[in-house]
Symmetry: C2
Subunit: 105 residues, 2 copies
């Protein structure tokens, strides 16, 4: 079951553009002030660093990811989530599109 829509959010209108546009996201906050973002990764292999811990929830397409310290690529598809610790990193590779919600903390 994927999360298709998110009601009652405050949307930041400027996009976040990473890796020359290979990843584009828009940030938003919930009514309680919790910050999240929705985004898409286009065909690429990228390394993301985390500050806060993150949970990546797939809402369309898919990816393969490899957490720092692991040598195993795992796949993540619609409705699936994976977690990245704070102050860490992960590699992600996308063949077509990976649409996600990023939850922090």
């Amino acid at each position: 079951m994927t999360t298709a829509t998110l009601p009652n959010v405050t949307l930041t209108t400027q996009a976040n553009v990473y890796f020359d546009g290979k990843c584009v996201s828009h940030s938003f906050t919930l009514a309680d002030g919790t910050k999240k973002s929705v985004g898409v990764v286009l065909p690429a292999t990228l390394t993301f660093n985390t500050g806060a811990a993150e949970i990546m929830e797939c809402v369309g397409g898919g990816c393969e990811y490899k957490l720092a310290g692991s040598d195993e690529w795992k796949s993540s598809g619609p409705g699936e989530r994976f977690s990245i610790p704070a102050n860490s990193s992960f590699d992600i590779r996308v063949a077509e599109q990976y649409h996600y919600i990023c939850h922090y903390g």
Copy 2:
């Protein structure tokens, strides 16, 4: 004065990806059901076709645009808007980034 945030919207989590990612947007609806989107155009010269009429509101960066039937490129920066008729088209060229809200109708 640019529109930095939009309160109380229902956000569609999947992105819209156009022109191999040269334009990426996320759709949302207002509490009254009005549909809009926020997006970004990356460095490119593109042609967009309209179904419904559109108003493009710049919320960051800038672009040059040329409406169908015109041979004049005009620039649009933060806080500025331009309108495109229904069933028409416009060319847009972006040197860095053009962040926008697309209003329909």
